[in-house]
């Protein structure tokens, strides 16, 4: 466990309040919604980083929900149920003024439910050189605060030339 902590160079992760609790878990449940293929890849990349940081003993059980699937009310309900039970909920979107309606409805379904254990809400955005998502950032921060969740936002690194 100490080795895993030493290997992890991601300070934003290790600074999370839940980090020490996560290090003791052998399974972390991740529920993610993403806008398209590129934002889905971003979720996968993050989960790989998380897995590296947590070490071999921890399994990352992730479920990805593309935005198109959240349009169907029954699927949205299933996705919300999973998010309610997850340790980490990821929202991976492109820069914009506000979140797509489907994601807002999905958030409404689960974010007010009382969590049984600490939960982290993570927003993954496009690289900063492509713009900003300050309003989405503020909105999600509010959702996290109301739902007693830790909030973390990250922008993708600029690809190296």
């Amino acid at each position: 466990m100490q080795k895993a902590q030493l290997r992890c160079m991601d300070a934003t992760l290790t600074n999370l309040q839940v980090w020490s609790a996560w290090q003791k878990l052998n399974r972390i449940v991740v529920s993610a919604v993403h806008e398209d293929f590129a934002t889905g890849v971003r979720v996968d990349d993050f989960c790989q980083t998380l897995a590296k940081c947590l070490g071999r003993d921890c399994e990352i059980a992730k479920e990805l929900w593309p935005l198109t699937e959240l349009r169907t009310p029954k699927l949205r309900a299933v996705a919300a149920g999973e998010a309610a039970a997850a340790d980490l909920v990821i929202i991976s979107v492109h820069h914009g003024e506000s979140l797509p309606g489907e994601i807002k409805s999905w958030l409404d379904l689960w974010s007010k439910q009382k969590a049984t254990r600490p939960k982290v809400l993570l927003a993954l955005f496009d690289p900063l050189y492509l713009g900003t998502s300050s309003s989405i950032h503020a909105f999600l921060q509010g959702v996290a605060r109301k739902g007693n969740m830790e909030f973390l936002a990250r922008s993708e690194d600029k690809p190296e030339d």
Partner: protein, 108 residues
């Protein structure tokens, strides 16, 4: 007199035709409905035949809007009529316990 009879026959034919049309509409409506059963048992009724393309089923809902579901979540896709039959609970037949002969009692 003949005219009244003719009117009556005409009215009966009209009713029969109406019933036929309603029946046909109902049949064609049902023919396009499918049920997508997900891994967790959730069922989604579609208004069109789901089409699988690049790992995603696309279909139209009751409002005619296009919807999507990842093939990885789907356990089964079946016409609504077939799914309804499958969902009907099979009658449970309880067999009365077999009476044992008195001469087997010593084995118990």
């Amino acid at each position: 007199m003949d005219r009244t009879r003719a009117d009556q026959e005409h009215s009966t034919m009209k009713k029969a035709a109406l019933a036929l049309v309603i029946g046909l509409i109902a049949l064609t409506g049902c023919a396009h409905r499918y049920v997508i059963r997900l891994d967790n048992g959730t069922e989604i009724t579609t208004a069109s035949k789901p089409v699988l393309k690049e790992g995603t089923y696309s279909f139209k809902d009751a409002k005619g809007e296009e919807q999507f579901v990842g093939a990885g979540r789907v356990r089964e896709v079946a016409p609504a009529s077939v799914a309804a039959k499958e969902n009907k609970a099979k009658p449970f037949k309880s067999e009365p316990p077999k009476k044992r002969k008195w001469y087997f009692l010593w084995l118990a």
